[in-house]
């Protein structure tokens, strides 16, 4: 059994192709159901996000699965398989697990360490569980990837620090004010950019949000969509006296908030901190405002610099995260290798048992002389003998930690006992060296 992955992501495929491979539109359930009808996939999980579309399957034959899945991908989305082939990447076994673990850890994401992907991987697995397209392999590798994702995020700093403007602004606000409940936010300007940051602050649970614009109707419209209150432009200065956070994002060519104006406002506030976020271009707030005591002024470049710094810090942590992934992949590989020897173990058992039966059959005439109650004893003792002979090698094989060596052992067993050949023992029944011993063992059991 192999773990096989076929997929596309932002790293290999332009968005025009990716958007056509989106599984989410028709629902993961439909895709999994269609996939379940394909011959190659014994187990399947589909992971579909805006940056990737990946199919994980458990299969016996990798080349067959590759052709089948590529066909499925093309058919399902109504594309030419040939046009898809150059964009698609594939991974087998430990490499597939390695890829999945990196994805779950956010290491394969556009923004390293982004938090959503782990939830998306979990959702993909949950959908497949619901459709009953998972089995022993998926039930192992996916929960394992959740653990890796969590380890990477808690043991390294790859997911630390804000990496978007609005996130950076919000985390700064929290560092200044602590809890944002009961804080007042004033949004100056009713444009798109201000809306985004305001929305972000809203999700953090700010107490009150006031929106002002030179055209009150614009402010009222945005306020309606944000669960905020509109504020007439003339009352801005009064409102600033009570505000904690100000987001300024107007289209004005001249500064909207000047130093004398804020100085006046601060006189009434004394040392109560005021956090000014200027995300307008050209800037809305005079830079000199930032020199005032208890005023924290961040413009879009400052926030961008924070984001860049955080990204760089995340990047520096990637090596450690990759180390965790590699460590987990090694452990997974051991599990996979142990699973891989199951067919060999089964074949070996069947081979031994076949020999036992044949010998009993061959000795039938001699055994006929025994008392009738001894016959089942002979049957039992030969069976136990075979079992006991097999116990140690089976356990040794399963508990070998090094996957390479496990494969070598399995290979050796296959060759030594010719397990891949069709019953070789049958060709030489007369010269079977086991025969005299079996002959001897038979009668000796009866006292």
């Amino acid at each position: 059994m192999h773990l096989f992955l076929l997929g596309v992501s932002h790293k290999t495929t332009p968005v025009e192709v990716r958007e056509r491979l989106d599984f989410a539109a028709r629902g993961l359930g439909a895709a999994l159901e269609a996939l379940g009808r394909r011959p190659s996939a014994q187990e399947a999980v589909v992971l579909s996000t805006c940056n990737r579309a990946e199919i994980y399957v458990a299969c016996d034959e990798v080349p067959a699965a590759r052709a089948d899945l590529l066909g499925f991908l093309a058919e399902y989305h109504g594309l030419e398989a040939d046009s898809l082939a150059p964009h698609v990447y594939e991974r087998v076994d430990a490499d597939a697990a390695h890829h999945l673990f990196r994805v779950a850890g956010g290491l394969d994401s556009l923004v390293v360490g982004e938090p959503q992907i782990l939830g998306q991987v979990k959702d993909a697995f949950a959908a497949a569980s619901e459709e009953r397209t998972v089995g022993p392999v998926m039930n192992k590798v996916f929960p394992w990837s959740f653990t890796v994702g969590k380890r990477v995020r808690t043991e390294t700093a790859v997911a630390e620090g804000a990496v978007s403007i609005s996130f950076a602004a919000t985390s700064l606000a929290r560092k200044i004010f602590g809890d944002l409940k009961g804080r007042t936010v004033v949004v100056v300007g009713a444009g798109e950019m201000g809306k985004l940051t305001a929305q972000h602050l809203q999700t953090q649970g700010v107490g009150r949000m006031l929106i002002t614009s030179r055209t009150l109707a614009h402010a009222a419209a945005l306020a309606g969509s944000l669960d905020a209150a509109a504020l007439p432009w003339a009352e801005l200065d009064a409102a600033l006296g009570h505000a904690d956070i100000v987001i300024s994002a107007t289209g004005s060519a001249l500064p909207v908030l000047t130093r004398p104006q804020i100085e006046q406002v601060m006189r009434g506030r004394r040392n109560r901190p005021l956090f000014l976020i200027d995300i307008a271009l050209p800037r809305d707030i005079e830079p000199a405002v930032g020199d005032l005591e208890a005023v924290f002024l961040y413009n879009i470049d400052d926030l961008q610099a924070v984001v860049q710094e955080n990204l760089a810090r995340r990047g520096a942590e990637v090596a450690r995260a990759e180390g965790i992934v590699a460590e987990e992949v090694r452990r997974f590989e051991t599990w996979l290798a142990a699973r891989g020897v199951i067919p060999t173990v089964v074949a070996l058992r069947q081979r031994f048992d076949a020999i036992r039966r044949r010998e009993l059959e061959r000795l039938q005439p001699k055994l006929a002389g025994l008392p009738p109650e001894a016959i089942p004893r002979v049957e039992e003792i030969t069976r136990l003998l075979v079992e006991k002979l097999l116990i140690t090698p089976t356990e040794q094989l399963k508990s070998t930690p090094d996957p390479e060596r496990v494969r070598a052992y399995a290979d050796a067993l296959t060759r030594l006992f010719a397990l891949d050949a069709e019953e070789p023992a049958r060709r030489e029944p007369g010269r079977d060296p086991a025969a005299p011993r079996a002959d001897h063992a038979g009668p000796s059991v009866t006292p």
Partner: protein, 275 residues
């Protein structure tokens, strides 16, 4: 004997530093546990000394310093429990270690001083030591406030930004510790004044009681620090919390510390009951 809490405080300090740098929760918990153990050991040793000498070991400057260390450890542990915030441990621990080391190398005094038999003595010293412990916390909180404030203001969100609690909660902690410290400082000084008046009316006046005046550096420094903290409270009431309060509590505690160690050990003529 005093080396045992000293070593535990040192170990806790190392753990707090490690926790501050690495931010691993298990290390933080270990630091708290070791500090708690240090405080328990300290309490035990203080109790033993009390029984051995027959009075609380707070008469001489080194004894008072040791008692202050113990109170500071307790006050810090209380703050940690109340705020679930361990980042300040790394700033407190050096204070504990340095002052406890002073105690460990100072000679033990075991003679009784008649003037200290007064019931006012315990109240006077205990409230002042408790005030100092609270003001030491205010100092550390103020220091970290200034560090974080500077990082945010300068737009270099680095080391402290990631590790310290928000400016708002630091400011709140500062306000509370200064308030508590000021209250005990006031009680301690007031009791000292009453006690002095009493002692001066006694038939035989101790020469140290005669030395009590504003000219004595210990008393002068106490009055100055009380004035500074009174101003801190006044400024906060008028709305000037934040960085100004933080600076005031740093300066205020610097004076408390000077008063406590160099002045208390070598310069005072009125408060030298150990020698």
């Amino acid at each position: 004997m005093n080396a045992i809490p000293l070593l535990l405080y040192l170990a806790a300090g190392i753990l707090y530093a490690f926790y501050f740098a690495e931010r691993r929760a298990s290390v933080g918990h270990a630091a708290t546990a070791v500090l708690g153990l240090g405080a328990v050991a300290h309490a035990f040793i203080t109790g033993m000394e009390t029984m051995a000498v027959g009075r609380m070991p707070i008469a001489s400057a080194p004894e008072a310093v040791s008692m202050f260390v113990w109170l500071l450890a307790l006050a810090y542990l209380y703050m940690e429990m109340a705020t679930e915030e361990r980042a300040l441990g790394v700033f407190i621990a050096p204070l504990l270690v340095a002052l406890q080391a002073l105690r460990a190398v100072s000679p033990v005094v075991d003679k009784k001083v008649p003037i200290l038999e007064s019931p006012w003595f315990g109240v006077h010293v205990a409230s002042l030591l408790f005030a100092y412990a609270s003001l030491a916390l205010a100092f550390v909180v103020g220091l970290t406030y200034v560090l974080l404030f500077k990082e945010i203001k300068a737009k270099h969100l680095g080391f402290f930004y990631k590790r310290l609690p928000s400016l708002d909660s630091l400011d709140l902690m500062n306000a509370r510790t200064v308030m508590v410290g000021w209250l005990f400082l006031t009680v301690g000084v007031a009791v000292g004044v009453i006690w002095t008046i009493q002692a001066k009316s006694a038939p035989v006046v101790d020469p140290r009681v005669q030395a009590i005046s504003l000219a004595d550096p210990k008393i002068l420094a106490s009055i100055v620090s009380w004035a500074i903290y009174t101003y801190a409270l006044y400024a906060r009431k008028r709305g000037f919390g934040g960085r100004r309060s933080a600076y005031i509590s740093v300066i205020g505690f610097a004076i408390v510390l000077i008063n406590f160690v160099p002045i208390g050990f070598f310069l005072t003529r009125s408060h030298n009951f150990g020698g």
